[in-house]
């Protein structure tokens, strides 16, 4: 019987990880019973509920990713894989690939070509396991009237028969992976930082959910899981990275990682791949011959809100 068949027949327990790293359904039920009983014991209830979010002591005491030893990372990855299997009935890859040497990732978006179709938005949601309910989308495609570039007069709510619409143009915005990033500066616990290859990441297991980074970001590049994220099991992407698209938990912040799970393996981000007009370009800023470097050298480029000196590694340009 294949995995899918097992899933459908409800005999998911046959797939159970038998190494003991994840609780069996019985244990979960037992735990829930205990939790429910404690719930009514006043103050103890508060504590129990706090713990409910974190299913194990290993998770509770888990260290910041950057302070973990190799062994600890391996253990954590195993635990996460078991947890995800339990939740989605699938075998996950939780990568921990480090940055590639002499690489600084940059992004460029051709405003001349973008037609505002928003395929990038949905490709991103599917690739990066964003919650479908409540909805989280890393990319916001802003529509402007021709002749102005005032954010306050832009909208993300447009629904025409056909794009592009006459008299309008579009600016998609996502995390700009700033070199001088205000979000990582303000985080009180260093749960978010810039990797050596320039990708701004979040350790979802270290984030305390204070949302200071969201207040600090000038680009709306950060999103908060206000409720337990919901991803249908048949839609979940099992090829993940620890600092990227692995399933998140409630009450933590997440963001675009340039598809860290892809780009560290030499692939393009999902939004670049899906763009039907080739408006999205991605590559190594340190390589003078890369497409991205050539664009910056030869085209008219600008960066969003450059007056704030955030120094984004995300460029907008005009191809013609």
């Amino acid at each position: 019987m294949s995995k899918e068949e097992l899933e459908k027949s409800g005999r998911i327990s046959e797939l159970q990880d038998t190494r003991g790293s994840g609780p069996t359904p019985d244990e979960v039920e037992q735990k829930e019973l205990i939790d429910r009983r404690m719930f009514f014991q006043g103050a103890a209830g508060v504590l129990a509920t706090m713990m409910l979010g974190s299913c194990s002591w290993q998770e509770f005491f888990q260290n910041n990713f950057r302070r973990m030893t190799k062994g600890e990372i391996e253990q954590t990855v195993e635990r996460l894989k078991a947890e995800y299997k339990q939740k989605y009935g699938k075998d996950f890859v939780v990568g921990t690939e480090g940055p590639i040497d002499a690489t600084l990732f940059g992004y460029a978006l051709d405003l001349q070509r973008c037609i505002g179709c928003r395929r990038c938005v949905y490709a991103c949601v599917e690739e990066n396991n964003q919650s479908r309910d409540p909805q989280i989308q890393y990319i916001r495609v802003l529509r402007f009237k021709d002749g102005e570039m005032d954010l306050e007069h832009s909208t993300i709510y447009y629904d025409p028969e056909e794009v592009p619409e006459k008299g309008h143009y579009y600016i998609p915005v996502q995390c700009q992976h700033c070199a001088n990033s205000p979000c990582t500066k303000v985080c009180p616990v260093q749960a978010t930082w810039t990797e050596p290859d320039g990708i701004v990441v979040v350790d979802y297991n270290w984030c305390i959910g204070c949302r200071y980074c969201m207040a600090a970001c000038p680009y709306m590049g950060r999103w908060f899981n206000f409720a337990e994220p919901v991803i249908p099991a048949d839609k979940v992407n099992v090829n993940t990275h620890y600092l990227g698209n692995r399933p998140r938990m409630r009450n933590v912040v997440e963001k675009c990682t340039f598809c860290i799970q892809r780009v560290r393996k030499g692939r393009y981000p999902a939004c670049v791949e899906v763009c039907p007009v080739g408006a999205r370009k991605f590559g190594n800023l340190l390589d003078p011959e890369s497409e991205i470097s050539r664009i910056i050298q030869t085209k008219r480029v600008f960066r969003l809100k450059s007056e704030l000196n955030t120094q984004p590694k995300f460029y907008y340009f005009f191809s013609i």
């Binding site: 910041n64 409540p134 303000v186 200071y212 969201m214 207040a215 600090a216 970001c217 000038p218 206000f226």
Partner: protein, 403 residues
Amino acid sequence: MGRFFVGAAQRIIRGTPLYYVWVVFLLIMIAIGIGAYVKQMRLGLIVTGMTSYVSWGLYIGNFTFLVGVAAAAVLLIIPAYLYDFGPIKDIVIIGEALAVSALLMCLMFVTADLGRPDRAWHLIPGLGILNLPRSMLGWDIVVLNGYLFLNLFIPGYILYKAYNEKPVNMKFILPFILLSIPWAVSIHTTTAFIYNGLAARPFWNASILAPRFLASAFCSGPAMIILLFQLVRYYTKFHVKNEALFKIAEMIAIAMAINLFLLGSEFFKELYSDTHHLSPLEYLYVGLQGKGRLVPWIWTAFTFNIIAFVIFLIPYTRKRFVTLNIGCVLIIIGIWIEKGMGLIIPGFIPATLGEVWEYAPTLIEVLVSIGIWSIGALTLTVILKVIIPIELGEFTRTTKMAA
């Protein structure tokens, strides 16, 4: 030491019927608040009105207001210890008790706002990582806890001596008292800097923010102190001289004058230069793109602050308790609106990509907030129940408690 706790416990347990009614009322409010918080923990912050657009709300608003209340204790310390102004010196310890309760509420409000309070240990240096010197929130945690320590230690020491019927060693305690003055300024400055440092939010990213924080804090905090002292004086044998209260009221008048002046400066700069930085102020005072939930609130605050300013400015109304108390209530409400929701929400409106998305607190947020205020009020009640008899010399090492 054991004797002290037995004596203190007896004093907390015993009281007039009104005392019991008050305490039971607070306990009920606390229970409701805890219930609401448990629901928030079970379902996530989705039960609040906060969104990815307006990511802070009622909790952080209350936090900001209460930091101001705590900082205002310094207004008592300066005349009491530095200028040896007798009438205030007698009562300064009660002001510090108010600061302690306010600080506890601050810490609870921040915790209520955290998505993952179970990970609060990540903030403990060594065990976790406190992002110093870069994060202003990190600094705020340091200065708030430091101020809490000072406000427990100084009155604790003085009361300990009084309890043991020994004289206070001023040489020992004075450095701590002196330290607490800049420290009080620092907690409010740092809290202002949390918002002030964010270039993404033009409403907060103005140098006037920290001075305005201090000015408004020195209005609302002392107003609370004036009301509190009258209650203490009414319900206990503790003596508070009128001139102490009038002196505090005079200081409020000065602070309010500065606060209004700074507000005027802010208005001028934004209105005259008429850039996009005007949008949040527009949202707050007249509404933006047809949305203006805060408009009636901020005009209430504005009116209250002006009326209170006039009351405190004129000696005649300042020295009549009816008008004085009206002024205090107006100022507390006015500053609570202005420094709470009136400061936090417009920072997020319009959002960084231009969208106007409004916020309103949910019932859960309101109940949790009432619960936290009740915990604060109960803490203050209990502290006063113990320290006032010590101050009065009725509760010392040698006094015998009636069985």
